[in-house]
């Protein structure tokens, strides 16, 4: 899944999540193909970015491989942080950075 800007987006991509207006009204359902008229309509609703499906990385490694690589990389990624993550947002940053590092590690091994 990728979070990308609507500015100059290519037509034909699939939404990965429901898209809602600022008031919470669902505008587009998950799994909808983004056509040009739909993209323009979203822009008129002041939607600037959307989640789209991105299959490029999904099947590259198994979950088991990734988890093993995460354990290998955990200490190195933790070194990048001054102290342990103190709240859910910092925890998310840590976990996502770890996952990215694990994938890079697996790619380098290939």
């Amino acid at each position: 899944m990728k979070f990308i800007t609507l500015e100059n987006i290519t037509e034909g991509l699939l939404t990965a999540r429901d898209i809602e207006s600022a008031s919470g009204q669902r505008l587009v359902a998950k799994g909808t193909v983004l056509t040009r008229p739909l993209i323009n309509s979203l822009k008129r609703h002041n939607i600037n970015n959307v989640y789209i499906e991105d299959d490029s990385e999904q099947n590259e490694f198994t979950e088991e491989e990734i988890m093993f690589a995460e354990e290998m990389c955990r200490a190195g990624v933790a070194e990048r942080f001054l102290v342990r993550p103190a709240d859910p947002m910092m925890e998310t940053i840590f976990k996502t950075a770890l996952r990215i590092e694990a994938r890079e590690h697996l790619k380098r091994k290939r």
Binding site: R80, I93, I100
Partner: protein, 289 residues
């Protein structure tokens, strides 16, 4: 030391330098043009086209997957028409400064890695500003990221002995605030230098405060959204190891920053991998990979 003394000391720093060589004339010209009430695409594109190497790089970056255009642009004028003045100005700045700072590191202070960290912060700050209702904010956040640590690079280039001392003191205890060490040694911080330079180089005025307070965005009363984007971009660039910001490590951030940027954990899970991918694309486009 008072603010007045800090400004005096920074002015003295720059009076010792023959030329502020890092920002080429063409970028100053573009910044000058963009300050006018009405500027034409032709005026800006003519300025870029005076520099063939810059033109080639601007087009290469404009056509990279970072901008995701569904058709190629083949002139600065069409790049400006599609991507906007601010984006093209930011590309010109990025390319020009990369030329200045893409050097191998010999001392503990690695110029290239610090510059790459600035690039990483720029990409991250722009992505984190994605929910702003101010359409121009993302590009301002990008340029804020590019120049937020430029003070470190200028201090290193012009006061290397002092920079060595700062690096040494900072390596003893990494919990001590880097800015406090700078104030001890220099009487000013890299953030002060960056803010001074942003003004001198004619960048949008809201960037001055953003850079001055990029470690303490809560002190920036006027442009809080962009200050939070650059602050968060700085920490995420460290978490992802996009370049290296001297010895500084990623710090926990005030949760209010995420409220200001209107970002949730879910948003971050989607944005952070995108930041890494975008950074890699730009590195390849600038031949820095």
């Amino acid at each position: 030391m008072s603010t007045l003394n800090a400004k005096d000391n920074i002015a003295k720093l720059f009076s010792r330098v023959d030329d502020l060589k890092t920002l080429p004339a063409v970028v100053l010209q573009i910044n000058n043009l963009l300050r006018k009430e009405a500027v034409s695409i032709e005026e800006v594109s003519n300025t870029i086209e005076k520099d063939a190497a810059l033109t080639a790089r601007v087009l290469k970056l404009s056509n990279s997957s970072y901008y995701g255009l569904s058709y190629k642009v083949n002139s600065p004028a069409s790049a400006i028409a599609i991507l906007g003045f601010d984006t093209i100005r930011n590309l010109a700045v990025t390319i020009s400064l990369t030329k200045s700072f893409n050097k191998p590191g010999k001392s503990a202070f690695n110029v290239k890695e610090v510059w790459l960290h600035g690039l990483g912060c720029a990409v991250a700050a722009k992505a984190l500003a994605c929910k702003s209702r101010d359409l121009g904010l993302q590009e301002k956040a990008f340029i804020g990221g590019i120049i937020h640590d430029i003070g470190k690079l200028l201090i290193f280039e012009n006061m290397p002995a002092e920079m060595d001392r700062i690096m040494e003191m900072s390596s003893f205890d990494r919990t001590v605030d880097y800015g406090e060490i700078e104030k001890d040694v220099l009487g000013f911080t890299h953030a002060d230098v960056g803010a001074y330079v942003a003004e001198k180089w004619l960048f949008p005025p809201e960037l001055t405060g953003t850079i001055k307070y990029h470690h303490r965005p809560e002190l920036n009363k006027e442009d809080r959204e962009i200050a939070c984007a650059v602050h968060a971009g700085n920490e995420i660039a460290k978490a992802l190891c996009l370049g290296k910001s001297t010895f500084e490590k990623a710090r926990n951030m005030n949760p209010r920053i995420w409220k200001e940027l209107d970002l949730t954990e879910d948003d971050l899970s989607g944005i952070i991998p995108q930041i890494k991918m975008d950074f890699d694309v730009i590195l390849n486009s600038l031949n820095l990979a």
